[in-house]
């Protein structure tokens, strides 16, 4: 079964391309400190070795291993060091220019992958776990549990997504990446739970579930051993699409100023910085590049999602399953 899914998935080049792109972006996010930063990776000072030391100077006789690119995402240069107005155009020192505080755009872009992918993957994981648990319970138990869960999901799905997220984030005293992740997950689980519930309703009528019941298994065992594992595929597909939509939502919220707090390096915030000087040609890269980065990340996960969906359900080859549509519709809700 597992092998079958992988061989169907890997048969299409674009699926592998999406997977490779996602892995490359994830690696770039993980190793951002090794690629761009103004702290040495390793510093040998007075016979001791430091990893990413803060505020230590490299004296004579010390040695240090520096990142490839020696600008940090948060470093604001002293006013005296500035040449020309901000934001600065690309130069030898700043290959992609700076933002309006003088911070290096390339460093902020590279580090921005952390906020975007971090929030995207964490939100998708939480939202799908919640949706899977509640959806299976609703579909398997039916009755009032189903009624309650379905109603709550319906209510959550009735709000224009971004508007609701904006208001919730706005009411909080201060927004953080964690709160951004949490509000996305807590509003988006409804989507997954609907899909999983439909699957659970189908699965619970299957002969093998009846057989398990006839053999005297408890309801809990039937649920965990037979119903839940067979509801995993829609959840897995929803999770992959969920990463893409959470990345878009995070960037939209950050762009509006209610997502990642300043001075976090986040693609949405970078665009907001660019928006402030949108008519200044020097700020163009600040708008253009984060958008392309978001686009790459979102399409990587969407490619994987489509590939997974087709691989898990060969009958739906090429069709837009309801799952894909709902996620994308909600995503468009941006």
């Amino acid at each position: 079964m597992k092998g079958g899914v992988w061989s169907r998935f890997s048969r299409r080049r674009r699926n592998l391309f999406g997977l490779g792109l996602a892995l490359a972006l994830a690696a770039q996010a993980l190793f951002a400190d090794f690629i761009a930063g103004d702290r040495p990776i390793l510093l040998h000072k007075a016979g001791k070795l430091y990893l990413f030391p803060d505020g230590l100077r490299v004296g004579p006789g010390d040695w240090a291993l520096w990142p490839l690119f020696r600008h940090g995402p948060y470093t604001i240069p002293p006013l005296a060091a500035l040449r020309g107005p901000l934001p600065q155009p690309p130069s030898a020192d700043h290959p992609l220019g700076t933002d309006n505080a003088g911070r290096d755009t390339l460093a902020r872009l590279l580090h921005g992958a952390r906020a975007s992918l971090g929030v995207g993957i964490a939100a998708a994981a939480v939202q799908v776990s919640l949706g899977l648990a509640l959806g299976v319970l609703a579909g398997f138990l039916r009755g009032w549990v189903d009624f309650a869960i379905t109603r709550v999901a319906e209510v959550l799905l009735s709000f224009p997504l971004l508007l609701l997220l904006l208001v919730v984030q706005g009411v909080l005293e201060r927004t953080t990446l964690l709160s951004t992740m949490a509000v996305i997950a807590l509003t988006r689980w409804a989507d997954t739970s609907r899909l999983v519930r439909a699957e659970a309703l189908r699965v619970r009528e299957m002969p093998y579930v009846e057989a398990s019941r006839a053999l005297g298994s408890s309801r809990l065992r039937t649920l965990l051993r037979h119903v839940l594992p067979n509801c995993l595929s829609p959840a897995l597909v929803a999770a992959t699409f969920g990463v893409g939509s959470a990345i878009l939502l995070e960037s939209a919220l950050s762009f509006l100023g209610f997502g990642a707090p300043e001075p976090t390096a986040s693609w949405g915030l970078l665009m907001a910085d660019g928006f402030q000087d949108v008519l200044d040609p020097n700020a163009r890269l600040l708008v253009l590049l984060p958008g392309l980065a978001i686009f790459l990340a979102v399409s990587a996960f969407n490619l994987i999602g489509e590939g997974l969906r087709d691989a898990l359900d060969p009958r739906a080859q090429g069709a837009v399953a309801p799952s894909a549509f709902m996620t994308s519709d909600q995503k468009r809700a941006l």
Partner: protein
């Protein structure tokens, strides 16, 4: 029909109640003494007086226990009293009724345009899945799909700046002509259109693919109809039905997209109203705006259900869920 409509409407009451409950709870459940904080912020902003704040607390039922407070607020809501804005003291109902038409002015034309462009794309793609046209169009649509809307909007601003197309506001100063208004709407509508275009065309494509595999299409082919007749007269009508359902879901998505588009293009619609209310912690406006936004979705679903029932005689409204 009236009876069906009433029944359908009754089914939505619990959801509507849920929406108001969420609107109320979001503000009440805020961590810390959010209300004191909001009051302070509003006072510092020079908007609300202490008397207004006290009046607001009473009106919104915020001094009462949660459920009692909710009941009281709901009572006010039903009577059409949404309170007054902290910022300028104007009734929330008036603010909403000014903002909603602007958002609809963006959402409805882009919905229409989106469908107008998406239907040919969906037909061409779905009629011959896997063909050259299908692959090309699918790729383009996939690209549109993954672009953040704020990026598209900003790129349009950059491209249009200084080329005669207005990029900010709803009207030029002192110009009340219709042409000027339309000119201001070009970019925002373009922005909102591409999103619904992508969703609708993909959806139509997949339902076309499904329809092309049905027995009645095989029958139509077997009796010797031309391919265009098979596609346009047999597969298409059945696929179009599914687009009606989509209509109800796209409307709220557009309302949401309007938050960003209205912010970038400076249009005084629901999105900007909500955004400004969030910035100024203008609680009465916030509660009113999300309640209205939620209710709009229900109206969208209701309208598409009615259209569906009108278009397809097999469907009765009885027992159908959105």
């Amino acid at each position: 029909m009236t009876l069906k409509l009433a029944r359908r409407f009754a089914g939505m009451v619990p959801i509507l109640l849920g929406i108001t409950l969420v609107a109320f709870a979001v503000v009440r459940a805020a961590p810390g003494d959010a209300l004191a904080l909001q009051g302070e912020a509003a006072l510092r902003g020079g908007g609300a007086t202490v008397a207004q704040m006290r009046e607001y607390r009473r009106l919104m039922g915020l001094d009462d226990p949660f459920l009692l407070g909710y009941a009281r607020w709901l009572g006010q809501l039903i009577r059409g009293d949404l309170g007054h804005s902290f910022r300028d003291g104007r009734p929330v109902l008036v603010l909403l009724s000014e903002a909603l038409p602007v958002t609809l002015l963006l959402a409805l034309p882009s919905l229409f345009l989106g469908y107008l462009l998406a239907v040919p794309i969906g037909i061409v793609s779905g009629a011959r899945p896997g063909g050259f046209l299908d692959r090309t169009l699918s790729r383009i649509v996939f690209l549109l799909y993954s672009l953040p809307i704020q990026w598209v909007a900003l790129m349009l601003v950059v491209a249009a700046a200084g080329r005669g197309l207005p990029i900010y506001g709803l009207r030029s100063e002192g110009n009340r002509s219709l042409g000027d208004l339309l000119l201001h709407l070009v970019l925002p509508i373009a922005c909102l259109t591409y999103g619904s275009l992508a969703v609708v065309s993909r959806y139509l494509r997949s339902s076309m693919v499904e329809a092309m595999g049905q027995d009645y299409v095989r029958t139509a082919r077997a009796k010797g109809l031309s391919e265009s007749a098979v596609v346009l007269k047999h597969a298409l009508p059945n696929s179009l039905l599914s687009l009606i359902t989509l209509f109800g879901l796209t409307l709220p998505a557009l309302t949401s997209g309007a938050v960003i588009v209205e912010r970038i293009f400076g249009l005084p619609g629901m999105g900007k109203l909500t955004f400004d209310a969030v910035l100024g912690r203008d609680v009465p406006v916030l509660m009113g705006a999300i309640t209205l936004a939620g209710a709009l979705t229900l109206i969208g679903i209701l309208v598409s259900d009615l259209l569906y029932a009108a278009a397809d005689p097999r469907i009765s409204l009885r027992g159908r869920r959105p």
